[in-house]
Amino acid sequence: MIDQSAARALHPLEVKIILAFSSGDMIDSARVREKLGFKEGQDQQAFSWLVAKGVLEEADRQTEVFYELTPFGQEWHDEGTPVRRIFSLLRESGPLSLPDIAQKLGFDQKTVGSAFGALSKEGVCAMDESRRAVLARPELPQSLLDTEALLDAAAAHNGSLPETSLTPQQKALVAQYAKKRGAQDAPFRIAERAKVLFRLTPLASEYREAVTALGMTGEELGAITPEMLEKGTWKQGSFRPYNLQIPPARVIPGRRNPYVEFLDSVKDKLVSLGFEEFDGNMVETEFWNSDALFMPQFHSARDIHDVYYIEEPTHAKFIEEPYLSRVAAAHEHGGNTGSRGWQYQFDRDFTRRLILRSQGTVLSARQLPKAKVPGKYFGIVRCFRYDRVDATHLSDFYQTEGIVLGEDVNLRTLLGFLEMFAVEVAGAKEVKYVPGYFPFTEPSIEVHIKHPVLGWFELGGSGIFRPEVTRSLGVDVPVLAWGIGIDRMALMALGLNDLRELFSADLESVRMRRSQYKIQ
């Protein structure tokens, strides 16, 4: 038994055939077109669908030959054959040389030559003594009129003449013009088409019952058109249900990049926690990148193989005062910071050296002279490291950094912030703090979190800026400084495992990428 959903999925063309014929009936294109008024193509579509459903089976197959007008033949029909047009021209204009004919009619020499040859052969044309074509007889020969009749017949049959409809003479004539598959300069081409006779199987009756039970007629409305709405014709009909299980066609939407969206979600989270965003130059000086952070100029992390130097220009013109003098004093002997300093000669030339910033902390240092108290600032900024690029290292990447200034901030408030980041930003369930080391903070703390998927890992580093850093930059209150590594979280959020993929140039992979993170 055919169920309703199978019946409902039938196309109106199928419904019409099922309702019009009975099991055992033999049908073919001609019959279907005649009885149901199907247009060309509709019958074949309906047959192929019904065969696939087992409602029709092939009973007989014969090959029929058709002569089809080529575009060239269509032109002959519409504009007149070259023979006809030369004949008419000569009749109107009198004798003309062949090149003149070609020029007047827009033909090439070859076309004119062969048409003139054909006319000469029939005695219609001749060449006069000054090598001009002249008419020798006032009317066209029968053979050429027959050709025109054939073109007219073909045009009347939608450009396709069944071989069976031709007289033997016509067959012989068309055979002269037609080539199989059609050459460009032939007016006809030969096409072979299978004429298939189908038999309706017993399944047809079952479908018919189901279709009748549903009240389907095959006349249901298809697409809703503006015209239908305007005229209200939809009120008289019912809507054909569509097959709703067909996979939809693909569309390519414009969209945000999922990695950038992830970074934005972290920015939004930090803003919601009261942090103001900062930003700055990617080209920086050794001064702001490291010296202002109290990293001694001989520190191993300041080796030539750790930062990228700019080739031209090599140095900034100047470093802002009073910061240069204060920082230099802090390095040399502590200055007014209460420190004994690193006890070496600060290099005021080296400090102007231009580099690509290697850490986001540079922006924290730059913020200090203009920071408000209390104040909270952050940045997610591109940094550059002298690293070989692989799955876990990039030559440029994002760092997330921030500072908190306040009269009363201290180690415990620092831990409070770290806990907030761990829970709010990273979705951590457990947090652990361990002593760390950074040249610019004292004390220094690393925060480790237990992530539901990644397990324990280091979320970031933090600490309280050393007085050598803050006092030199004009800040007298304690400053909490923190940095969180969000690359691993980004990879997980995007279902990736190679950092290079975050910056992928491959359009298809970016289009298909889905983010899996939840913004809390």
Binding site: I252, P253, Y309, P313, T314, L354, T413, P443, A505, D506
Partner: protein, 572 residues
């Protein structure tokens, strides 16, 4: 950050505890800011098992050795501070059985030397390996690749005292260095010996090079390059060794010799003093007995410590915490903490450096996180807010947002783009030519996408908002960073008209009136490209990308593209 390998048996012995649980071991290591790197307990017998540990504190070289790290863990647990009576100091004179003479000639090249003698037990294989590791870590990380500090170890049995340290002509002195069989001059060593080549930059071009000889003039070593093959080779089984440290930074030299002395004492050696007589004056005097205690007492008020930590520790708590860290601390008035740094430490630059030791000594778990109470208003930068607006318009126009690296090759950024590399900021020390320039346009990235995405269904419409670096000779740095938007459309019918319509919609929605002026940029087709002008100022360009550019990127589909300076659009 230094990474060391410790022999498990030796380390556990010195630390006075045997760990079997990895997590507990990792937990205990945190007091030394150390991290377990590798510990494969399934391998070999414990005697040969090693543990790899990473040390995070670059200012605590005393922790970069088996004995030093073990000492920190042991003291934290036992609260007992070892004493090292063999240290001389300004206040404490000691007689030294050995003597080194530092001659005036070496002052200009590598002026400082410290020494010590260890004896009393034969050196085992594990000990020798450990000693060499400590020597290397100190010289490489703390000594800045031997420039600031280098260390030599010798068998005493072969040396005639006193030893002499002097400056010599590198072409006139020769000896047989370690790993060689022939006699070489100092300059030949710098040019041909692997160690010479590695460290040549420290001495190259100097008229005088440092040399260490014994009383008979036989060469001990050529610091900081290489030891002699005769007097400078130490082997398993040697029971008496001489260690010298030379360098350009006196406190680092003195500290390195102190670290070696304390480590060897912890491992059961007797330490003998070495008197170093300088032919010139030094901050520690002209005749110094090593190991020498040179550190100064540091102090911090308890109130300052409590304020920084957010704690309310009593003086006794603070002193107790410092003891666990191995620091001799006391207070005379109950208000100020005084600390005499241990012999092997010199990392107290600021009084706050004591506070961190209090924190670790008390234990992190004692500090309860506190929610911040200061109220502040959070906000994004104006350019970030503006960029987000720009992005949402581009998405509405059907564009896919992309993000690219900012470093690339001259080939991608200039050559393929049909522009000169003059406008690009170049890196002086690139690691590879693939990352040699900083970009000055977002377009090479978008074209990179086209070159690898021919199989992705068309149309392709992509954009990126990101930074570029432009040369600007008039400003202090000579370069500026700007926020740009780049956009590109690619398909069979992509043309000027399409990109022009998109720019029109974009500018309308941003509320920007603009005009266009025909431009002549080699990246675009002549006659199909325009500058975008806002109030007469050029803010960007768009047009049909030149087939030369497309061909260079291997792109077989027409592309129209443009770039706009968002910071200029943000203004006014």
């Amino acid at each position: 950050m230094p990474k060391i390998e410790v022999n498990e048996e030796l380390f556990f012995g010195l630390a006075g505890k045997t760990w079997s649980d990895k997590e507990e071991f990792e937990e205990d290591l945190t007091v030394a800011k150390a991290e377990l790197d590798e510990w494969d307990t399934s391998l070999s017998a414990d005697r040969e098992r090693t543990i790899k540990i990473e040390l995070n504190d670059t200012n605590r070289p005393d922790l970069w050795s088996t004995a030093g790290l073990a000492r920190q863990l042991r003291m934290y647990r036992t609260r007992s501070i070892p004493s090292y009576p063999f240290f001389a100091s300004r206040k404490k004179a000691l007689k030294a059985p050995y003597r080194v003479v530092v001659e005036k000639s070496v002052k200009g090249v590598r002026p400082w030397l410290a020494g010590l003698v260890a004896k009393g037990k034969p050196i085992s294989d594990a000990l020798l390996r450990d000693m060499i590791q400590t020597q290397e870590k100190l010289a490489w990380n703390f000594g800045r690749k031997r420039k600031g500090v280098s260390i030599g170890i010798y068998r005493i049995a072969l040396i005639e005292w006193p030893v002499h340290y002097r400056g010599v002509d590198p072409d006139k002195v020769s000896f047989v260095p370690l790993q060689e069989t022939r006699t070489m001059t100092l300059n030949q060593i710098l040019e041909q010996h692997p160690k010479g080549i590695e460290y040549a930059s420290i001495l190259k071009g100097r008229p005088v090079h440092p040399l260490l000889t014994d009383a008979k003039g036989r060469v001990l070593s050529y610091p900081p390059i290489i030891n002699s093959a005769d007097l400078g080779a130490v082997q398993v089984g040697d029971a008496e060794i001489f260690i010298e440290v030379t360098g350009s930074d006196y406190p680092s030299v003195a500290l390195s010799s102190a670290i070696m002395a304390c480590d060897l004492a912890d491992m059961g050696f007797e330490i003998d003093n070495v008197q170093v007589d300088y032919e010139y004056d030094t901050p520690f005097g002209s005749s110094v007995v090593f190991p020498y205690y040179f550190q100064e007492e540091v102090s911090v008020p308890l109130d300052d410590a409590n304020r920084l930590l957010g704690s309310s520790l009593e003086m006794a708590d603070a002193l107790e915490a410092l003891t666990r860290m191995g620091l001799c601390a006391y207070s005379t008035d109950g208000a100020v903490i005084h600390v005499a740094p241990p012999e092997y430490r010199n990392d107290f630059l600021h009084p706050f450096d004591i506070v961190e030791d209090i924190m670790i000594g008390v234990g992190m778990e004692k500090f309860v996180p506190q929610r911040p109470t200061d109220f502040t208003i959070g906000r994004l930068t104006p350019i970030e807010r503006f960029s987000r607006k720009a992005k949402s318009i581009m998405v509405g126009l059907g564009y896919q947002e992309m993000i690219y690296n900012y470093l690339g090759s001259g080939k991608d950024y200039a050559e393929k783009m049909q522009v000169s590399a003059e406008g690009l900021v170049k890196i002086a020390n690139p690691m590879t030519e693939n990352y040699e320039y900083v970009r000055n346009s977002p377009l090479p990235g978008l074209l990179q996408t086209e070159s690898v995405s021919a199989k992705a269904s068309y149309p392709h419409r992509t954009f990126e908002v990101g930074k570029v670096v432009l040369k600007a000779p008039e400003v202090n740095y000579g370069v500026v960073t700007r926020q740009y938007i780049g956009f590109l459309t690619s398909h069979a019918q992509a043309d000027y008209n399409e990109i022009a319509s998109h720019v029109a919609a974009f500018m309308y929605l941003l509320g920007k009136e603009y005009t266009v002026r025909e431009s002549s940029d080699s990246r675009f087709v002549p006659g199909r490209q325009v500058d975008v002008l806002v109030d007469g100022a050029r803010v960007g360009i768009f047009g049909e990308l030149h087939p030369l550019v497309l061909e260079a990127f291997g792109v077989m589909m027409p592309c129209a593209a443009g770039e706009l300076d968002l910071e200029m659009l943000l203004e006014d």
